[in-house]
């Protein structure tokens, strides 16, 4: 690269770099300062350096581990459910989607709704006295499960998340399924391969990289869930539906423990960074 070209590149990339530094760099720097300081709303401009105290407080807080366990379970279960359902739908509906593209538009409608709105909608729909679902269950069977009661609330938020985001997985798998060369399927059919075996031995192995990417994206999204759970049931009785994001939000704004909240956010970021760094290596390993 010539020096002249190098200067041109720097000039062209400069505004973007400055923009990113302003938008991402400044909050990150501030979070790091506050994460290592004793800070409250009264001392935002005069944080006192406190070393690793906030990190020790976070590690000693049972609520943090409860939130981490909730997020881990929620992220893993919803990712598996969404990818399982999305894959089944994509393979089953691929011929229909090929002929009538508009059916895909209908199937992805839940994805368009803002998660917070989805939470509010379920809060109304599942309310025992105002919601249509319990109303009809009572009318027809004289009984309705308490969808948002302590015994069912985890299942309910898992189902709500799955219903909203399965279309995302479906879309990825449909694209992957449609990109498989048709002559492979035709050759298998000529050899007398049955549909299940065709899927299991040819289509699924070719779609595996997409499956891993989808699982990964959905797990990350599930792990950092906030809006729909917070608007639906809040932090839950005894903190039973407190995800990591809800924990950080409540620690920051409700309890005013800014340093501790940001220490938890830094830990979450570090964990996500390690996973993100390891994921491509894992994927490359699978492809090889």
């Amino acid at each position: 690269m010539t020096p002249r070209r190098s200067v041109e590149n720097a000039l062209l990339a400069g505004p973007l770099v400055l923009f990113l530094l302003a938008v991402l760099g400044f909050p990150t720097l501030l979070s790091l300062i506050y994460g290592f300081s004793e800070t409250s709303f009264q001392t935002l401009t005069t944080p006192q350096f406190s070393g690793l105290k906030n990190f020790r407080d976070v590690a000693a807080d049972p609520a943090f581990w409860q939130a981490a366990w909730f997020s881990l379970r929620f992220g893993a279960i919803t990712a598996l459910l969404q990818c399982g359902l999305g894959l089944a739908l994509a393979v089953y509906l691929a011929p229909l989607a090929r002929r009538h593209g508009w059916t895909v538009a209908i199937l992805i409608i839940p994805m368009i709704v803002a998660p917070a709105m989805m939470g509010l909608m379920y809060r109304l729909v599942l309310h025992e006295f105002a919601g249509p679902v319990p109303h009809y269950l009572y009318s027809w069977f004289g009984w309705s499960p308490s969808f948002l009661g302590p015994a069912n609330v985890f299942k309910t938020v898992v189902v709500a998340e799955t219903l909203q985001w399965t279309p995302f997985a479906f879309l990825l798998f449909l694209t992957a399924c449609q990109s498989i060369p048709e002559d492979l399927r035709e050759a298998a059919a000529v050899d007398g391969t049955r549909p299940w075996r065709l899927f299991w031995k040819i289509e699924l192995p070719l779609m595996m990289p997409t499956v891993f990417v989808a699982l990964f994206i959905r797990f990350i999204d599930g792990f950092r869930v906030f809006d729909n759970i917070y608007t639906l049931v809040g932090a839950g009785p005894g903190g039973s539906t407190t995800s990591m994001s809800i924990y950080i939000y409540e620690t920051f704004l409700r309890r005013g423990e800014i340093g501790k909240a940001l220490a938890a956010a830094i830990l979450l970021f570090a964990t996500a960074f390690v996973v993100l760094a390891a994921a491509p290596r894992l994927l490359r390993g699978r492809s090889a």
Partner: protein, 434 residues
């Protein structure tokens, strides 16, 4: 259209927007989406119509959303926002916001209009931080048609006693709600629950709003307070792990365990609990006074009383909403003038007539007896039964409510036992109120 024309049009549009922004010089951030907003709009119109008011002191109102309102306000105040000159405050948050606000002097009429008890709901460290605009406390709402039928039916009374004997260990007699103790409240809730009494006309005897939310703890506090419960004693020692709190929490837990409150009421807040009562499937509930209109409209045979009594008497949690001065306000003079006018009798009466719920001294409230009889009841209950827990206006009062909401709802939902809930609460409160 040429580039030059576009530029001129844009400059003109910006100038119009800018001139609109400077028309109203006193900006008020109010409590959105309820009777408080309607009332504030009404009195602001009256104030802005005053002929002696300078254009630069006219008032403009700002409303956001109730969701996360106090969190957003805290961030704005801490950041020294000049987006508003006057902001909402509540009794339980004064201590937290006081460092970012300025004390004010109210009009000479304020003492006579509101009375000292109500003015104190807007004070912190002896200084007046706001004009009290709305007073909140709790009523016991009950279905008078169902209670009357129960009191008139000997067979029903016998059934009531049998249920009380089975679950509370004593054969109790039904009473009029005005005479209820918390034990009567529990017995009544059990009697009107279909899973316990299949003949009950309602599915549930009561509804306890038990979402992990600080406001729900305020509704609950009247219960332990009537057994002598408090947050701290006079020496500052935390007293939450007491027999009073144990009794109240256990009695409420019994209602959850026996299905006398809807199973998903651990996710209910104000609106959901009201919807439950309004459906006609709940016999009685303790709820904010602000719900009176909504509940009475939905169930015409609704009676109201002060919350049930305990061995220490009858109590209701009390707190006020008000408006105070932002330390970073750009038009302090205009803002103070508006706040002083709000504390006059003229403004208080107009605010009440427009649907607000100010806590008024008896002489002022009497002037509204025809238009707002409920305000007379609110004033009477506030002065007779009103209480604020020791530490209830401290800097960390909101955090204390948060801790209690998490721990107590956890106990009711069965995720932890009573000892753990109270131990965790006492430990956190010791840290927060030290």
């Amino acid at each position: 259209m040429t580039f030059k024309t576009c530029l001129h049009a844009s400059v003109a549009a910006l100038a119009m927007m800018a001139s609109g922004a400077v028309n109203a010089e006193v900006t008020v951030l109010g409590w959105p989406g309820g009777p408080e907003e309607t009332a504030l709009r009404a009195v602001t119109e009256i104030y802005n119509a005053r002929p002696d008011l300078a254009a630069e002191n006219k008032v403009e109102l700002l409303f956001t959303s109730r969701d996360g309102f106090f969190d957003k306000l805290q961030v704005d105040l801490a950041a020294g926002s000049t987006a508003f000159d006057i902001n909402l405050i509540a009794t339980y948050s004064i201590g937290r916001y006081a460092p970012f606000m300025e004390p004010i002097t109210l009009s000479d009429q304020a003492g006579a209009v509101f009375g000292d008890t109500v003015l104190k709901t807007m004070q912190f460290d002896g200084a007046q931080y706001g004009v009290p605009t709305d007073l909140s406390l709790h009523f016991l709402y009950y279905r008078s048609d169902l209670i009357d039928a129960l009191l008139a039916d000997d067979a029903a009374k016998a059934k009531y006693s049998e249920i009380a004997m089975k679950h509370l260990g004593k054969a109790m007699e039904p009473k009029a709600p005005a005479d209820w103790t918390w034990e009567d409240f529990v017995a009544n809730a059990l009697y009107f629950t279909q899973s316990i009494n299949p003949d009950s006309p309602t599915r549930y005897g009561t509804v306890i709003q038990a979402k992990n939310l600080l406001f729900n703890m305020m509704v609950f506090h009247s219960w332990p307070r009537s057994y002598g419960g408090n947050w701290m004693d006079d020496a500052g020692a935390i007293t939450v792990d007491s027999e009073a709190f144990r009794t109240a929490l256990s009695q409420a837990k019994m209602l959850f365990d026996l299905g006398a409150t809807p199973p998903d009421s651990t996710s209910y807040e104000y609106a959901e609990a009201n919807a439950a009562y309004a459906s006609g499937q709940v016999a009685a509930m303790v709820q904010w006074n602000a719900a009176a209109g909504e509940l009475t409209a939905a169930q015409a045979a609704t009676g109201t009383s002060a919350p049930p009594a305990g061995p220490d008497g009858r109590f209701t949690h009390i707190h006020g909403l008000g408006l105070g001065l932002n330390k970073a306000a750009e038009n302090k003079e205009g803002a103070i003038a508006f706040l002083q006018w709000l504390s006059t009798e003229e403004a208080a009466l107009a605010y009440a007539k427009a649907g607000g719920a100010p806590g008024l001294a008896s002489e002022t409230a009497a002037k509204l007896a025809a238009d707002r009889p409920d305000l007379v009841q609110v004033g009477e209950y506030a002065s007779t039964y009103g209480f604020v827990m020791n530490g209830g206006t401290s800097e960390n009062a909101l955090s204390v409510y948060e801790v209690q909401a998490k721990e107590f709802t956890g106990y009711w939902a069965g995720t932890q036992d009573l000892d753990t809930a109270l131990k965790n609460t006492a430990a956190a409160m010791t840290d927060l109120l030290k």
